[in-house]
Amino acid sequence: MAITMRDSYRLDKSLEIHHEAEGLKEDVHGRHPMDDMLRTERLPHIWCPGCGLGTALTCFLSALCRAELDLDKVVVVSGIGCTGRVAGYVRLDSFHTTHGRAIPFATGLKLGNPELKVVVFSGDGDLVTIGGNHFIHAARRNMDMTVICVNNFNYGMTGGQAGATTPIGGITSTSPYGNYEYPFNVSALAAASGAVYVARWTVLHARRLERSITEALLKPGFTLVEIISPCPTGWGRQHKQREGLDTLRYYHEHGVIRHGADPRETDIGLGGVIVEGKFVDIEKPTFLEQRERRLEQIRSGGKA
């Protein structure tokens, strides 16, 4: 049973707390086609003007519609950070876990109920820095989940610090003289760890991004979509991109679509090209399929 807009407002009014969040009403901002899939009573969101997360979220919701999944069975799991707040805005079963731990939590959900379509939606700092170990191991197991990693090359929520994805030379609030650590390439890391589907798009390429998320959602196994996304507050203003639009212009100038590119040749450097496209799309039994096969052999009298 779906909650209608009107009902959800009424629900909110019965609560004493959080009434300030109700300031923005349908009659003020009008109806958005995605409203049914959002917890509109939680709007406005926390994201800065010019942030790419709105586009990333819209592409995800469009992809969910396009994939025609049973939304009661779709679960979104996030970690901590700006992207981590996605779980709080989608009107789906959604889990906002601890920093870096969305993937193991999602693993428990999926194994606890294999009928669920499990989506991990989180940021680069969450997924491949503090949560890097879980990321590579879930990919190694080919755990059945779609991971959407929004990469803005810095820790946005805490004020623009350097992380494991910050390119060499990147200026952040904790790399004021320029970052000198080698960064991770998120897509290459996933591919090297065993992901069966890897694609990367900037939020400028919204239609292609939506298509890739749809493909990822429909593909069994560990699928990754890396979304390169503007962070005007934490990243852009230090890199001659004062507004989100400047970053989109940068993507337009530096983005190169190269389907099937060797993920090892898609590193993102400061001022260099951003290779986009679908890098990996292979067939491989998932964790649960592997498990079932093995146990089936034992049940039918085979040797371990």
Binding site: D72, G108, G112
Partner: protein, 378 residues
């Protein structure tokens, strides 16, 4: 049956069908047994990449509707702490077994300790209450693992089974009752349709909100942030923080009478009481026997539930005896609680041990003698 194995069997009997863990001495046998048993009962065993992942997978599985468990020892317990807190905050039923070994740090992997008792109570950041049980034998490890699942389902809280390397690695007779004799509890479930359901709204007169799980159409939201009745973040002031944290504490503390299990022996005429738990309660058996032969009327209050702490019972006891002896395999943790509850009514004697072995019974006997006012050779 070995204690660790009994623990795994207890979990299976309790309906546990999900185990995520990481090998660690002396808890590994729990995982080994689960890896063998769970596939046979349509359950899931997964060895995660570390204990942080294990704890999170357990929480995720619980939200998928499973009864879920992990087992570890000191170093792994430390790694689990942050997400035990997530379990507390989001009110996720699950069981965490800690087969305690000597610490700190890597300490004594194969040897006994009881040094994690305060960590069990306070280990995750922020303020909350929790339930921790202490078995003294493989049979009790079996029984209390079932009990732990029941408590976790009833109170929607991670329940800690704080056993130790001695009990975990001890082999003794374990009786597994027929399934119909095992009482099992299930978490409170929503009675209203999705449109009317608020994930953290507590029915009047109750302490625990009904729990919808993923995939049922309730479209729940769960967060480790301070949240309101809908489960939505409410982090701009303390308006949601007060009722939430208060309830997380109250649902345990106000139900102490229902939760706490103690075992009293020979206390009716006692002038000295031993307060002990886990293997240390068994170490005290011989010294108590000796002391009785010497004419010292000594009895025991054994803590089966260590958290929440039985304040009133210890307070009453302290009013009736001339001394309390607390042997434990740490440098004095639960003894502080006993002192607090005794509130100066009677002296409390700590018998500390840093871990690596059980107490020399002579030390416990000397403490009993001292508590009885007898002279003890130094």
């Amino acid at each position: 049956m070995q204690g660790d194995v009994a623990c795994a069997e207890g979990a299976i009997c309790a309906g546990c069908r999900f185990f995520a863990g990481y090998p660690i001495t002396p808890a590994t046998e729990v995982a080994q047994r689960m890896s063998e048993r769970l596939p046979l009962v349509d359950g899931i065993y997964i060895q995660m990449e570390d204990e942080i992942a294990s704890m999170n997978a357990v929480l995720g599985a619980s939200w998928a509707g499973m009864k879920a468990m992990t087992a570890t020892s000191g170093p792994g317990f430390s790694l689990m702490m942050e997400n035990i807190g997530l379990g507390v905050m989001t009110e996720t039923p699950c069981v965490v077994v800690n087969v305690q070994r000597g610490g700190p740090s890597t300490g004594l992997p194969t040897l006994v300790g009881q040094g994690d008792m305060m960590q069990a109570r306070w280990g995750s950041h922020g303020d909350y209450s929790i339930i921790a049980l202490c078995p003294s034998s493989p049979q009790e490890l079996f029984d209390l693992t079932i009990h732990a699942f029941n408590l976790s389902e009833i109170y929607r809280v991670p329940v800690l089974v704080m056993t130790d390397a001695e009990v975990g690695h001890m082999t003794e007779r374990v009786v597994i009752p027929p399934p119909e004799e095992i009482e099992l509890a299930v978490r409170p479930r929503p009675k209203v349709p999705p449109g009317e359901y608020k994930a953290y709204a507590v029915p009047p007169g109750e302490w625990v909100p009904p729990m919808a799980i993923a995939g049922e159409g309730y479209r729940i939201h769960m967060t480790g942030l301070t949240h309101d009745e809908r489960g939505y973040p409410a982090t701009t002031d303390d308006r949601a923080q007060w009722p939430l944290v208060q309830r997380l504490v109250d649902k345990i503390e106000k139900n102490k009478e229902r939760i706490i299990r103690l075992e009293m022996s020979q206390l009716d005429d006692a002038e000295v009481a031993v307060v002990a738990y886990g293997i240390s309660a068994r170490t005290a058996a011989w010294p108590m026997q000796q002391a009785r032969q010497e004419g010292i009327r000594v009895g025991m209050l054994r803590l089966i539930t260590v958290w929440p702490f039985p304040d009133e019972q210890i307070h009453d006891l302290a009013g009736r005896v001339r001394g309390i002896v607390v042997p434990e395999i740490n440098m004095g943790q639960i003894v502080r609680e006993v002192q607090r509850c005794a509130a100066g009514q009677t002296p409390v004697y700590s018998v500390p041990h840093p871990g690596g072995d059980i107490h020399d019974p002579q030390q416990v006997l000397d403490a009993i003698r001292r508590a009885a006012g007898r002279k003890v050779k130094e």
